[in-house]
Amino acid sequence: MMSVTAASPHAYLERQARWTWIEAAFWAATLLPFWLTPNYLVLASQIAITALFALSLDLILGYAGIVSLGHAAFFGLGAYTAGLAAKHGWGEPITGLMLGALAAGIVGYAASFIVSRFRHLALIMITLGMGLLLHEAANSASWLTGGADGLQGVKMWPIFNKFRFDLWGYTAYTYSLIVLFLVFLVARRIIHSPFGLSLRGIRENALRMPAIGASSRAHLRKIYTISAVMAGIAGALLAQTTETVSLEALGFQRSADVLVILILGGAGRLYGGLVGAIIFMVARDQFSGNTPQFWYFWIGALLVAVVMFLPNGILGGIAKLASTWPGSFWRGKS
């Protein structure tokens, strides 16, 4: 943690918000798959979508301290909204994305009134319960969602009437990456604003923030809605690039996976979800094969190890290593 002088909160925020060359290098590296691994662009687009989903969870979990076991609810809402719109004759991708975001945002706003009132076990149970509720609802309403068979017949139009979704994922990755970058810019701006700073205050001490005049419930509602919108965008992206939606988009497994991804990368540090998504998705692609149960053995063991030995995730571990070097370029935990 960097020392903050009380006189200059703005200077502190400005210093935090400055772009470093590592960040620039990271985003430049996201273009590499086009040349290095053109056969894996479909996987790359899935990674970008998962990273976006993890980023949305990071906003509420890493920054505001809301532990959610049901975040897939918003991912699934976005996916089904975009998928249904395309199935019923509106296959325009950009507006479809907005529709997905809107649906997730509305439900997220409604849910935020419940979520902001609870903490601890009740919060975990309520988010879990809402996720399961939505999953069951989608399962039951098979006339609308296709039930366990998934939503079939999603037909996407080309983006801007020009770029067709191809089999190799060229368009899909470009599209997902651009959306990820734009949403990331928004998230970055939020985190480095006074609002973002007060969220961290709520995370650190939920009683003290209202005592010094910050309306913590209103802040929590706001960030929860924003996070739901982002998760909805991620879901809509998945529906559009794969042209199908399965019930699994809403499942508990997806909520748990994204939590694992974020923790693995490091919660509360913007790039944590992105790095975690890359590692998780590549490892799953390489190792899971046809025995998904054994994949979860390693995920479980990894979780135990991270909690025991690497409490701030991979990025936290790197930051700790880097900060022991003189002339460190990496900032401490924000």
């Binding site: 309520i126 319960g129 939590l259 479980g300 979780l303 135990v304 409490p311």
Partner: protein
């Protein structure tokens, strides 16, 4: 007309008793240490597999395997408690959730590796099969047995908690952990013992559950959700609360699946969310 209703109520009650056995340990340990143990049902699953192994591989009678299901689950849980859990008592909810979810993932994978992903076949002894008819309503003998076991354990637990010195220490630790420590009560020791007892009961529940709901590696997660519902609805650290919540959830789940099968598990999740919104600390919770 009234016959099916009583039948559904009875089946729901028996199912509720099963949920009570599975969840009562988690309720008490959560009340004491506020430790969110999502691996609780992994211990229940362990008990189930102990019974399956002893019966199918070694030919033990069903009833003789039950104490072992209890013992093995209790012993394994105390090993985990000493090695991993106790380091995280002061950690955040998130760390506890992550550690125990990780353990649950591992348990599912290990069970799938050792026993495969299929349902485990178990042949109940003849005296527990069939049903008796009372006033024209059929009651399954196994379910009657289950209810009897659960009620006996409830009475034992309540008596132990109310009338023994150890029970008084546990109640003090649930009420106010710091105060109990200040009075010289060995809260950590009491907790470790309660934890083992609770996991043992879960193991027993897992063994008894095979006949009703089957046993496969997904058990650790499928029933975790039900157990968490019971615990959070009943309120932490309350045996009476767990009992009432388990009965309520058991009956509404069975009745829901019987009368409105198209809703599936929707009803039970709805009951939970609404109850929690109305009373966040649960029906009998005080915090």
């Amino acid at each position: 007309m009234i016959g099916p209703v009583i039948g559904v109520l009875f089946d729901g009650f028996a199912y509720g008793m099963l949920l009570f056995l599975l969840s009562v340990g988690l309720s008490v340990t959560l009340g004491m240490m506020n430790f969110v143990n999502l691996a609780h049902c992994a211990f229940a699953m362990l008990g189930g597999y102990v019974t399956v192994t002893l019966m199918n591989r070694f030919g033990w009678p069903f009833l003789a395997t039950l104490p072992f299901a209890f013992l093995v689950a209790a012993l394994v849980s105390i090993a985990f408690e000493r090695i991993l859990y106790r380091r995280l008592y002061r950690a955040s909810d998130l760390d506890q959730v992550l550690l125990t979810i990780g353990l649950a993932f591992v348990s599912v994978a290990v069970a799938a590796y050792v026993y495969g992903t299929i349902q485990q076949p178990v042949q109940m002894p003849s005296y527990l099969r069939g049903s008796v008819t009372i006033l024209g309503v059929g009651f399954g003998i196994y379910r009657l047995f289950l209810v009897a076991v659960a009620l006996a354990i409830t009475l034992l637990l309540v008596a132990a908690l109310e009338y023994t010195r150890f029970g008084a220490q546990v109640r003090a630790a649930v009420d106010n952990q710091r105060m109990a420590r200040g009075l010289g009560i060995n809260v950590d020791g009491a907790f470790a013992f309660t934890f083992a007892l609770g996991s043992g009961l879960a193991g027993l529940g897992g063994a008894l559950a095979i006949e009703i709901v089957g046993l496969d590696p997904s058990f650790a997660f499928t029933y975790l959700i039900y157990v968490l519902i019971v615990v959070s609805v009943g309120g932490l650290g309350s045996i009476a609360g767990s009992f009432a919540a388990a009965t309520l959830i058991g009956i509404s789940d069975v009745a829901g699946k019987y009368y409105v099968p198209e809703l599936g598990a929707f009803l039970i999740y709805l009951v939970m969310v609404v109850l929690l919104m109305w009373r966040p600390a649960g029906l009998f919770g005080r915090r």
